[in-house]
């Protein structure tokens, strides 16, 4: 019962606060795994002895500090392993930390739906439910060979173990691999490809500017198109080289969009997300003999400076200015 799973109740699109909050956790233990956008796992094995409090008590301390320092509430689940801590989090509320004591894992899990288990996605859950294995108790009771027949050898074995309460996971400390997102909603069903491209261009420009402002580059770009019927299409593409160059981002975004071939789809919003952020100084850049590329990047640098001085609308692509 030494692992905590903390979920901060951050307002949406306020991911930037996470690093500070993780700093707060670091005062208790160095073994922290960030779960972006708003959560973290913390291994308190050493801390319990140091602070002479058990994990549940520490959880209260963490919550009080988060509220006092940042005004952010949080929900905390505790358990012997990361998986159980996460499961416990689902039962917790602000002010009530749910803890799974050691030895009671099976009973705790028995009544839970299979989809609650981390690592069981919608597809697996659907398969399991189809065969009547809708709770983890039933999964635990099913013969392991049958589980393997259902969802494959490795997944079946792991699921069987997890359903028994065997949690082999560890908290792996990591830096925050952040991502940046730009959303462009439309106020009605938009079918016009021209306006879609404008939204893409402006989102890519914004992402580029934001990345450059924090000296980061991104490796992957994800496009999410949401439709009127609340469904969405998501496409991701890895950039040729990690970059924060707006023109490169725009090109990739356009390519992904064209591949969708939308005609009559009723688009309600277009979102771009830059993922796999890394420090800009570690990025490689393929030089070319084409002077244009060099010039464009220099102009971008200048434009960034102009924007820093005169505001974000000081310099922008012509098609967005209209």
């Amino acid at each position: 019962m030494t692992i905590l799973c903390v979920r901060f109740q951050l307002p949406p699109m306020y991911e930037a606060a996470l690093p500070q909050l993780l700093g707060l956790l670091e005062e208790f233990t160095p073994v922290i795994e960030a779960l972006p956008p708003d959560g973290a796992l913390a291994d308190l094995r050493g801390a319990e002895r140091y602070f002479e409090r058990d994990a549940v008590e520490l959880a209260s301390v963490i919550r009080v500090r988060a509220l006092a320092l940042y005004g952010v509430d949080c929900v905390i689940g505790a358990g012997p392993g990361p998986m159980l801590a996460r499961m416990a989090l689902r039962d917790a509320r602000p002010g009530l930390t749910r803890a799974v004591p050691e030895g009671e894992e099976r009973d705790f899990l028995a009544g839970k739906p299979v989809a609650a288990l981390p690592g069981v996605g919608t597809a697996t859950a659907r398969t399991l439910c189809e065969y009547g294995l809708d709770t983890l108790g039933r999964v635990a009771a099913a013969p392991p060979s049958t589980l393997q027949r259902l969802i494959g050898a490795k997944a079946g074995r792991e699921l069987h173990e997890k359903a028994q309460g065997v949690d082999r996971g560890r908290v792996v400390p990591n830096g925050i691999s952040r991502s940046l997102a730009a959303d462009r909603p439309f106020d009605r069903d938009e079918l016009d490809a021209g306006r879609h491209r404008r939204a893409l261009l402006s989102a890519a420009e914004e992402l580029g500017a934001r990345l450059r402002a924090v000296d980061k580059v991104c490796r992957t770009l994800t496009l999410t198109v949401r439709y009127a019927d609340r469904s969405a299409t998501t496409r991701g593409r890895t950039l040729k080289e990690p970059t924060a160059h707006s023109a490169a981002l725009t090109r990739t975004a356009y390519d992904m969009y064209e591949a969708l071939g939308l005609q009559r789809a009723r688009v309600r919003s277009i979102a771009l997300r830059a993922e796999g952020l890394a420090p800009a100084e570690q990025a490689a850049h393929q030089l070319t003999f084409d002077p244009v590329d060099e010039k464009v990047r220099r102009i971008e640098e200048v434009a960034d400076r102009a924007r820093a001085k005169f505001g974000p609308r000081a310099v922008m692509p012509g098609s967005l200015a209209a």
Binding site: L150, R188, D192, L260, R264, A265
Partner: protein
């Protein structure tokens, strides 16, 4: 001031394009002083007849035309081997492709009378031979007697818009070659900017180009709607057609395309000629050209369209050989006399000759021969066929083998069908097995050829739900929201949307948020009754001579590719085309299946047409009112009526069917009839002379035939004249005249004033309602036959019913009925079930009565099974193991899973979930190309995989989901304990409950209706099934506020109500409060009884429960929808809007609608009404 004629006008028949009905256009043309108007709908001539009639009424000369998409002339030079096709756009991942409207459009007007009309018909027919959207290929683009308008949307117009007069001239050449002098260039000014369609510059360029090329220009307004301000509706239609939302930033409708008057058009002409660089006074030349073009187009609706004339197939096609049709008919009828053994009866001969005289008088002999030919053909195919309608009253029809019942014996009159005084086309409807209806169509087409036969169109028009969906989508509303709003409406007219919001209790919630939707309601009402598509009429077939194609545009239907005339059934009659109604009746199919099953299992041949009359077991069953599934007498109201009427002969059935009609209900014939029948009231006749016609119905007028006889006897006029008089009764104006005439003639015949007065009262009350006895006799035949089957071969009868689903009830109710009547239901089994439902021997004893036949469920009822799959499974039987089944029957994965779920594979061992797993692995194995490998040991039994089996509740829900029937047991059985806690009375025990007692009933809703009732109030009738029987419910309007929404939108219901009894077998429950039982069950499970108590205390109405309102309401009570007049009923806002019928019969404005309601909570289509057994 010279007038102006609009040469380019579309109506609502241009689906999702035109916004006004033809009648409206004709009216406006009159109001705006035009003396001619053209109708040029897109790709269709369907509006022609309505337009012609409206124009005749308005005194405006109609011009006929059509706007067609025309393919460009192919140029050999451009089509070389090396030319690369433009690559297609990528297939969209979402939302579908754009609707292609790129083909240029040209307007064709019929000019030279019948020749022009024929040309127009041929062009429209030719345009519809293209794949996908209608497109006239260039090679078909030639016809005589047409005037062609090349407007802004034509290829020439587009070239001009693009600023390419050179290209326009080149494109013009082929048009000139074909149409020469009949070519016109059409200028349109809608006040748009730029050079696109509707712009002043394009109009001016067109006029200039015309002058340059020496082609006459005309002015038009490309009218899409009758009045200014309808532009928004046009926008919605555009959006609905293109399947996109309205984009306010794009070019919307200009709002100018309305039927402008001559002044406005002259103003337009002046602006256009000025912009073209001519003097302003040349405008009158443009207008003159337009008028001259209009004046040339002379097509007369009577002479040229053939309205009023009749066209029958040529006599040699209907077996007349070289004789005349009349002589062939006479000899066939005489042969029929001998064949049926009537040849020694004098009055049969007299009647036959009398009828032949009438037929000869009208020259309809070919018609009778045609119908006889069709009926013969159908019979030869082994398909059950029966005549229905007034045609059954003709002896000649009977002799030709068209009608089954002998009209002389049943007292049916020829005059009701056809007389010398009647000048309309007679109509004979024939019923065939629904499952083989299309076969019949093919046979008719094969017999007469496609140049003479076409099916009839049926325009689908906007009603409120569709209108909301299309407008909502055009306005970018949230799809889930649109769905919710649309579904909460009953199936009413779109124009009533706002009134319904205000008045219907079940829409109260929605009415509260109506402001949120802004323009929605207005636009929804704007779409009212506009055609949005066209379908094949389910029963009409046109039969004509070889000139059909030059009088009617014929298009192929989308599914089967039958030729279909663009006109609907009313138009067809006006055009003098002979229409034969071939109705597919599911009951006929069901009975055919039942008979075939009896033959298959026992070898006994059942001839339904020769079942003994007056079978006591059959009438015992009918009198018990357990007539579920019997033709015509299965509805709640009919079961009630049958219970009160207690029929014991065929004639009683005929009367019963006739009484259950709005007419007799309105004239209140039911009560006196039943009183007299059971001897509780004396039989009275207005005069002893009338005893003969009224004898059979205890002095109550039930049939049309009786009115004809009464009038004929009292006034001494012939029956033909009497029938004409009867038809006149429905019109209040002529009613007055008839009254005077009737009194005069009756007095002359020596009747006293009092008798005349009393008789007239009866005749008047009858109005034009009542029922044609010939119809009733035709209906009663299958009624008796189906009841006979139910009484003697119940298992086979249910097998037929379930296979062809003929009734108003969901299949699961029929299954419950079968269970109640002791027919064992055998579960689905891949080794035993057939494609259709089958009869199976369950236990046999030596005496034949002890033999029990069971009903084996059919593979075809499994959700998502294809015909081929079902047949393959049935063919491969028996299967030794799961593997064997998988390999030979080759079911799809989902299908195999469903079969396992409902236990069809139980014979292979293991539990149903284990079977699923094995199936999945078999599927994977097959997909992975390891088809030869045996994943299972090959043994007969399948090994267990240790998965939990389906619980009993899961099995039931699987049955509902897969078969939409609770096959193993009734679904209410699971809730018994809760219902016992509540003290719910079962349907079975309800029979013993006293009149006036308050009870709780519960069950699954089977059918809900709001039929028109005599009191003019809206009553919701519903039937609940609780496993032990059916409970018929009635909700009166004092309970609607609290109950209506629950009743319409829940599937399992708990209802509090008062028991109403009207006879030993006739009772119903008048509901005062209703709850959704599914909700309550969940509350019970989760919160216990306390939660249920809280729910009952909170919701559910307590109103309408007062014992005071008793007597008045109790008289109203009854599930038959025919209660007595109101009296003490509370005044409600609807009172003012009651629809008053000419007979004084009031109707609630929202009665007789298909009520709202949602899909059942479990399973797919659990109940729906099939059109099969409707009256």
């Amino acid at each position: 001031m010279p007038g102006f004629t609009h040469l380019h006008t579309v109506s609502g028949f241009s689906a999702r394009y035109g916004a006004s009905h033809p009648e409206r256009l004709a009216e406006r043309a009159l109001e705006r002083g035009m003396d001619a108007l053209a109708l040029t709908d897109r790709d269709t001539l369907a509006g022609t007849v309505r337009f012609a009639k409206a124009c005749a009424k308005a005194g405006v000369r109609p011009l006929f035309g059509a706007e067609l998409a025309v393919a460009a002339p192919e140029r050999e030079a451009e089509r070389t081997e090396t030319s690369v096709r433009r690559d297609r756009r990528r297939a969209p991942v979402r939302g579908g492709a754009f609707v292609d409207e790129s083909a240029p459009r040209v307007t064709f007007l019929a000019r030279d009378g019948a020749r022009g009309w024929a040309g127009l018909c041929r062009l429209v027919s030719a345009a519809h031979t293209a794949e996908d959207t209608p497109l006239l290929s260039w090679s078909d683009n030639r016809a005589d007697g047409l005037t062609v308008l090349l407007g802004p949307d034509s290829d020439v117009g587009r070239a001009l818009a693009a600023g390419r007069p050179d290209r326009a001239a080149r494109l013009l050449a082929p048009w000139r070659e074909v149409y020469g002098d009949a070519l016109r260039l059409e200028a349109v000014w809608h006040g748009r900017t730029g050079t696109g369609p509707g712009s002043l510059r394009l109009a001016a360029r067109t006029v200039g180009f015309a002058a340059e090329q020496g082609i006459r220009p005309v002015l038009s307004n490309a009218v899409r709607y009758a009045d200014p301000g309808q532009g928004q509706v046009a926008d919605v239609l555009d959006a609905a057609r293109r399947l996109v939302p309205i984009d306010a930033t794009k070019e919307l409708d200009s709002g100018e395309a309305w039927l402008k008057d001559a002044g406005a058009m002259r103003h337009a002409a002046e602006r256009i000629v000025e912009a073209a660089g001519f003097r302003r006074d040349t405008a009158h030349r443009l207008l003159e050209q337009t008028q001259a073009t209009a004046a040339e187009c002379l097509v007369d609706p009577e002479d040229d369209l053939g309205m009023g004339a009749v066209h029958f197939p040529e006599p040699h096609l209907v077996g007349a050989g070289r004789r005349t049709a009349q002589r062939a008919l006479a000899s066939r009828a005489a042969a029929g006399m001998v064949l049926r053994g009537y040849d020694r009866r004098r009055h049969y001969w007299e009647r036959m000759h009398h009828e032949l005289d009438i037929i000869a008088h009208h020259g309809f002999a070919s018609y009778f021969l045609t119908v006889a030919q069709v009926v013969d053909d159908v019979r030869h195919m082994g398909i059950r066929v029966a005549a229905r309608g007034s045609g059954a009253g003709s002896l000649v029809n009977h002799l030709l083998g068209i009608a089954h019942a002998d009209p002389v014996e049943h007292g049916l009159l020829m005059e009701r069908f056809l007389s010398k005084e009647r000048v309309v086309l007679p109509d004979i409807d024939i019923d065939v097995e629904s499952a083989r209806r299309l076969e019949v169509y093919r046979a008719i087409i094969g017999r007469f050829g496609t140049e003479r036969v076409a099916t009839v169109a049926m325009p689908e028009t906007y009603r409120v739900r569709h209108a909301i969906r299309d407008v909502g989508a055009a306005l970018s509303m949230d799809p889930a929201e649109i769905d919710r709003v649309a579904k909460s409406f009953p199936h009413i007219r779109a124009r009533d949307a706002r009134a319904a919001l205000e008045e219907l209790p079940e829409l109260k919630e929605l009415a509260g948020e109506r402001e949120r939707y802004g323009k929605l309601w207005e636009l929804v009402e704007g779409l009212d009754a506009l055609p949005r598509g066209v379908a094949m009429h389910p029963c009409g077939v046109l039969l004509s001579d070889a000139s059909l194609l030059s009088r009617t545009p014929v298009v192929p239907t989308s599914g089967e590719g039958f030729p279909m005339a663009q006109f609907d059934k009313d138009d067809v009659e006006d055009l003098g085309l002979l229409k034969l109604d071939v109705l597919g009746v599911r009951m006929q199919s069901a009975m055919a299946h039942a008979v075939a099953e009896v033959k298959r299992v026992s070898g006994a041949e059942v001839d339904l047409d020769a079942v003994p009359e007056g079978d006591p077991a059959t009438y015992r069953m009918i009198r018990s009112a357990e007539t579920l599934g019997c033709f015509q007498i299965e509805s709640p109201g009919q079961r009630d009526l049958v219970g009160r009427l207690q029929p014991s002969t065929f004639h009683d059935l005929v009367v019963d069917i006739s009484l259950f009609r709005p007419g007799p209900v309105a004239a209140d014939m039911v009560r006196p009839f039943i009183e007299a029948r059971h001897g509780r009231a004396p039989v009275r006749y207005p005069h002893e002379d009338l005893a003969e016609p009224l004898e059979g119905t205890y002095g109550v007028v039930v049939f049309h035939e009786q009115i004809i006889d009464i009038v004929a006897i009292m006034t001494g006029c012939g029956r033909g004249e009497a029938d004409r008089v009867r038809r006149g009764l429905s019109d209040p104006e002529s009613q007055g005249r008839i009254k005077v005439w009737f009194a005069q003639h009756a007095t002359a015949n020596g009747y006293d004033a009092e008798t005349i007065q009393r008789t007239w009262e009866i005749v008047e009350a009858f109005g034009s309602y009542g029922f044609c006895k010939a119809h009733a006799v035709a209906f009663a035949v299958p009624t008796y036959q189906s009841a006979w089957l139910k009484a003697h071969h119940p298992a086979a009868f249910y097998a037929g019913l379930l296979t062809h689903d003929p009734g108003m009830y969901p299949k699961r109710l029929l299954l419950a009925d079968a269970r109640r009547r002791g027919v064992p239901i055998l579960p689905l089994d891949v080794n035993r079930s057939g494609v259709a439902h089958r009869v199976e021997l369950v236990s046999e004893s030596r005496r034949s009565e002890g033999t029990v036949w069971g009903l084996r469920l059919a593979l075809s009822d499994v959700h998502g099974i294809s015909e081929a799959e079902a047949e393959r499974i049935a063919e491969g039987q028996p299967y030794a193991s799961l593997l064997d089944f998988w390999e030979r029957a080759r079911p799809s994965r989902p299908l195999a899973g469903r079969l396992a779920q409902v236990g069809a594979l139980d014979a292979f061992g293991a539990n149903r979930r284990d079977l699923q797993l094995h199936l999945t692995e078999l599927h994977r194995g097959a997909r992975g190309g390891r088809g030869d490998q045996l994943p299972l040991s090959g043994g007969r039994r399948t090994a267990s995989a240790g998965l939990p089996d389906l619980t009993s509740a899961e099995k039931l829900s699987a049955e509902l989901g897969v078969l939409s029937m609770d096959a193993s047991r009734n679904l209410m059985d699971d809730h018994r304990s809760f219902l016992r806690e509540l003290g719910v009375v079962s349907a079975k025990r309800l029979r013993e409950v006293q009149h006036g007692e308050t009870v709780l009933v519960a069950g699954a809703k089977a059918a809900t209706q709001t039929p028109p009732v005599r009191s003019g109030r809206r009553v919701i009738f519903s039937t609940l099934d609780d496993g032990s029987g059916l409970v018929d419910l009635a909700f009166f309007d004092d309970s609607h506020d609290t109950c209506a929404h629950t009743v319409f939108h829940s599937w399992l219901l708990l209802v509090r109500g008062v028991v109403q009894r009207r006879g030993p077998r006739s009772f119903s429950v008048v509901g005062s409060a209703a709850w959704n039982l599914a909700d309550l069950l969940e509350v019970r499970r989760e919160e216990g009884l306390e939660g249920v108590a809280a729910r009952l205390a909170g919701a559910g109405g307590d109103q309408g429960d007062d014992p005071e309102g008793g007597p008045a309401r109790r008289r109203l009570a009854g599930s038959d929808g025919q209660p007595a007049p109101t009296g003490s009923a509370a005044q409600d806002p609807m009172e003012r809007r009651k629809i008053r019928m000419s007979t004084g019969y009031e109707m609630h404005p929202w009665a007789d609608l298909r009520p709202a309601g949602e899909d059942p909570a479990v399973g797919r289509k659990l109940w729906h009404q099939s059109p099969g057994s409707a009256g």
